[in-house]
């Protein structure tokens, strides 16, 4: 035993810098993510649902092309259906993001994680950054695939847009950015609440239930508030045609970044204050 141990012992290296601690924590998070099957499935589901729903809805629209009302025809956003799948994808990304934190509390590995990286704020940042990067890569592939396939479907109707048309490239990247920020929010919600069921419930309530309830408010409150909700702000990021009651893409990005930052701040305070 002593023969095996002793040669391995390395002289104490100089104290690692915080960027080094962050990089190591991020690498560990990537290892965690790729070594569990469920996360790979959730990411595949994200791609399939983003592309699949976009293709499905675009096909339906194409099939009823000549039966549309004039209002529908003029207000047609060639990207709206292409990116409809993002609404579904944000749910799988949301659940997976929550699980990045809550599965560690459920299995008890959070104590190993904190033991390995006692800098808890840095750890949260590493977790959010790693997950968001993975979501970013998957979302970019999904959004570009959805875009090109859907525009190909619209081409026979001469309604498709090109990636070089004004605002289009920005919208495709905005769609992926929407998912990236939802992912980071989900990690933060998971960190703040620690339990999977509670965190998923809160996240879904914010993304799905609150928008429905706000529309019940008397006008003009309903429209005024709706555009500032995370879901609407996210949708604004991938819109090309300007809808009333929808923020500009830049404002949408800003609002969603604000929510993300606020939620991460709450999570950081909770992680540092609480015993693990």
């Amino acid at each position: 035993m002593s023969q095996t141990l002793a040669p391995q012992h390395v002289a104490a290296s100089p104290t690692p810098t915080l960027p080094k601690v962050f990089a190591a924590a991020a690498r560990a998070e990537w290892t965690k993510l790729r070594t569990v099957r469920s996360s790979m499935w959730a990411l595949i589901f994200t791609t399939v649902s983003t592309v699949g729903l976009g293709v499905l809805l675009t096909s339906l629209e194409v099939s009823r092309w000549d039966h549309r009302t004039p209002a529908e025809a003029t207000g047609f956003d060639p990207l709206l259906y292409s990116f409809a799948g993002i609404n579904l994808a944000q749910l799988s990304i949301g659940v997976l993001g929550v699980l990045v934190m809550t599965s560690e509390y459920a299995t008890g590995t959070i104590r190993l994680t904190f033991g390995a990286t006692p800098q808890r704020r840095l750890l949260l940042a590493a977790k959010a950054a790693t997950f968001s990067s993975v979501v970013g890569a998957v979302s970019l592939i999904s959004c570009f695939s959805a875009f090109f396939i859907c525009q190909a479907l619209l081409a026979p109707k001469h309604a498709g847009v090109s990636i070089s048309d004004p605002g289009v490239l920005r919208a495709v990247i905005g769609g992926a950015g929407h998912l990236v920020l939802i992912g980071a929010i989900a990690v933060a919600v998971g960190a703040a609440l620690r339990r999977t069921a509670g965190a998923v419930a809160v996240l879904f309530a914010v993304l799905l239930v609150v928008p429905g309830l706000v529309t019940l408010l008397p006008s003009p409150w309903n429209n005024d508030i709706t555009q500032y909700l995370p879901s609407s702000a996210g949708v604004a990021m991938s819109a090309v045609v300007r809808f009333p009651n929808l923020l500009t893409p830049a404002a949408g990005l800003l609002v969603l970044c604000g929510y993300t930052a606020a939620m991460l701040l709450v999570a950081a305070v909770a992680l540092v204050r609480r015993d693990a």
Partner: protein
Amino acid sequence: MIEAQQLTKRYGTTLAVDDLSFTVAAGQVTGFLGPNGSGKSTTMRMIVGLDAPSAGRITVAGRSYSRLRFPLHEVGALLDANAVHPGRSARNHLVWLADSNGIARQRVDVVLAMVGLTEVAHRRAGTFSLGMGQRLGIAVALLGDPQVLIFDEPINGLDPEGILWVRRLLRSLADEGRTVLVSSHLMSEMALTADHLIVIGRGRLLATGRVADFIEQTSGHHVRAATPEASTLTTLLREKGATVTADGTEGLSIKGMECRDVGILAAGAGLTLYELSAQRASLEDAYMELTHEHADFRATADSPLRSTR
């Protein structure tokens, strides 16, 4: 070296750890002993910065754990062997921990071999037996080749061969000059494994010192003798400075004199002895006595389970 100074942990109105001060020195195995619920695990969680003390402080090599960067190089801990993702392989469990502290991946295979899990390294940790899980937890502690090691009940779930292996491992780690703190609620196990003891009950320090001294002090041995002429022998023994108490009509319990001297004294006076033996209260008895009032959950005094002992 681990140092606790007036360490206190309060959960609501419960005092889990109460003004605890101790030092764990390098180069020996220190047993951390106490009944269930006495605050051992809470103290260990505070060592590795998982729980924050309500008052006082606890340091490793003079520093608070939460200030350490890449702490696995300095402190290795087995706190809960069940803390694994059941869907992740044993090897990948160690790989992410290695990644988090900049430890080379070859080290993962080295520790897997050390704990005897090489064959099952690619199996999902959720399929592991209690003993295999415990070995994986020990591998985690050894991963960064740290100078300070903390094990919370490491022999739980191990078979006799595994228990022997853990004892030897702890010994060899201490012999290499490392600081080894190992908790248990079994005095008998600690008597075999540890050099030094820290005994706590209800979060308070009850005793600390060398295991040998602890045995000496707490179990204070005495000599039992039996003779038809008990009163005569008692007088003789007391003249020689021994403390004698009657134990039945013809029995005597003698302190302060060895068996040999009692026998010579009796023979010199022509007294008949039909029993003469050194009595050593078991270590477990001493421990029970020490912690009796401090156990959180104990059986009622006359429960049938106890009387069979």
